[in-house]
Amino acid sequence: MSHSVVYSATVTNRPPAIEVTGLCKTYFRAFRRQGSDALRGVDLTVPEGSAFGLIGPNGAGKTTFIKSILGIVQPTAGTVRVLGGSPEDPRIRARIGYLPERLHLPGSWTATAFLATVARLKGLQPEPAAHLKLLERVGLAEAAGRKIGGYSKGMRQRLGLATALLGAPALLILDEPTDGIDPMGRVEVRRILQEEVQRGTTLFLNSHLLAETERVCDRVAILAQGRVVREGRLEELARGAARWQARFAPGADAGALEAAGLQRAETEGLFRIDADGPATLNAALDKARATGALLVELKREGADLEAVLVGTVGVAA
């Protein structure tokens, strides 16, 4: 969360990296009249240079949304603009780095051969030294000459990330990038992603690891039942209602404090104050202090991303 402020400062007054309006996707199966709606009118704008997280329960339509913005899935309705153009345009796709959820890698190839092939397909000149440096960056330098078939799940994921980073893309779309990576590896991946965002890359992250999203992203959208149910800066979402926690020194008159409008919490001496602004908060504190209670601690009651997701999806359902 501490990084979010830094990122958001770079976001202002830039054209969006991703702009989606009224996006609908219905999958039809053979011999069935009715299709199943994966996306039901998604409106979403991802500012350029931001680190954007997409979260939601299973089946919410996250992967379909990602595939739609890459042109892998063709929308039933709505418009998609990525980096100012159509995702169908190869010139636009050349500026995107993508890591799919389950990247299938050719087991009999070496990592360097795979990177060289993808570089060629991306229209880049294969540069063995640069590829080696990239593999070093994702922690695969020692395994560069080994066949991918012998890689662990985490190593494959790292190679997938290196592939997405090829050619310094303007937009990184990562679907579960830390899946299968050990905790130390996650820290490294997070560091790489943060470096990329600081470099000016727009990051679009879909991860079921909410702590990961919370640490890397500054903006989050919650997708549920094919719709964006909440979207905004992480602090705004996490803030929830304007609620504060006040702890008073032992001996405070709980009854008097309750009479002054404070709500008693589970712990002794701890009270909650609902205040939508500094004036209301200070007025409530003045009333509390007037009862003789001594304030020892005051903090904003925030919710973590998990609580925000559960609360939002619960409401949406």
């Binding site: 892998i72 063709q74 389950r102 990247l103 009999s108 397909l121 779309i173």
Partner: protein, 278 residues
């Protein structure tokens, strides 16, 4: 064109890592080596005087070399044609389904490529593989017999190229099948089915007599009319390999028919692939 070549190179690299394709190439090399080392041919004044295989004399009458080699080249042409297509069906059945498999197709479609590049590149890669194998086998055979007899002909090579044309039509069906179902088994089955259909189509006039006149015969003739006449192409390839005049009326027309069929199958595949979600 560059992305198509890139995908073709991707397919060829994938093929190079397949053990059974390498085994096939080793097999061809071994057969050629055995023929080269075990066969001894004595030619006097352009006539085949004596032939020894593994040291044993093969009883033959003295004939001109080109006449004596006709059955050999004819048999080789049939082996290359049908054997090559059957091996191609089995060995290449999973290239397209593999490329379209989950986790790989999403990655490829997110690269700066047009969708048709993927199919065209896969087709080109597989056909390069088929042509390479055919030229290696048929060329090797031509070289061995050329060196041993002094009789040089392009017949077996041309026959090999015709086998590749036949395989192109069959592989077009397999590639199109892969855009509907990502199954190597079903792609191979579709290829096998069209190979059999193509063999039947080559004998359609002779076979139609076995059907009673009326709906059955008309239906048979209508269905086989649409199929590439692969057996007729095989016979033409054998005739060319043996440097004898082709028995068919027009090789050009036959090739056009096979080409149109293959192109039609590919167009259906491209159309399907363009509109498909992965």
């Amino acid at each position: 064109m560059k992305p198509v070549l890139g995908i073709a190179a991707y397919v060829l690299r994938e093929a190079a890592s397949r053990k059974f394709i390498l085994a096939f190439l080793v097999g061809i090399t071994l057969v050629l080596a055995v023929v080269a080392l075990s066969l001894r041919i004595e030619v006097i004044d352009g006539a085949l005087a004596a032939t020894r295989l593994f040291g044993d004399v093969i009883p033959t009458s003295i004939r001109a070399v080109d006449v004596a080699l006709r059955p050999v080249f004819k048999a080789a042409a049939f082996i290359v044609f049908y054997g090559g297509i059957v091996f191609g069906i089995v060995a290449c059945s999973d290239f397209a389904p593999g490329l379209l498999s989950p986790g790989r197709i999403e990655h490829l479609l997110a690269l700066p490529l047009r969708r048709w590049h993927l199919l065209a590149g896969t087709f080109l890669g597989v056909m390069t593989l088929a042509l390479g194998g055919t030229v290696y086998g048929a060329g090797g055979l031509t070289l061995i017999f050329g060196v041993k007899t002094g009789y040089w002909t392009l017949g077996p090579l041309i026959a090999g190229v015709l086998a590749c044309v036949g395989f192109a039509a069959v592989y077009a069906v397999m590639l199109t099948t892969a855009t509907f179902v990502r199954s190597a088994a079903l792609c191979a089955a579709a290829g096998g089915l069209f190979l059999v259909g193509g063999i039947i189509a080559g004998f359609r006039q002779q076979l139609s007599r076995f059907f009673e006149a009326g709906l059955g015969r008309n239906a048979f003739e209508a269905v086989t009319l649409l199929l590439p006449r692969l057996s007729a192409l095989a016979m033409a390839a054998a005739d060319l390999a043996a440097s004898t005049p082709p028995q068919i009326r027009s090789l050009g027309l036959l090739l056009v028919g096979v080409f149109v069929f293959g192109l039609g199958a590919l167009v259906v595949g491209f159309w399907r692939f363009e509109g498909k979600d992965y």
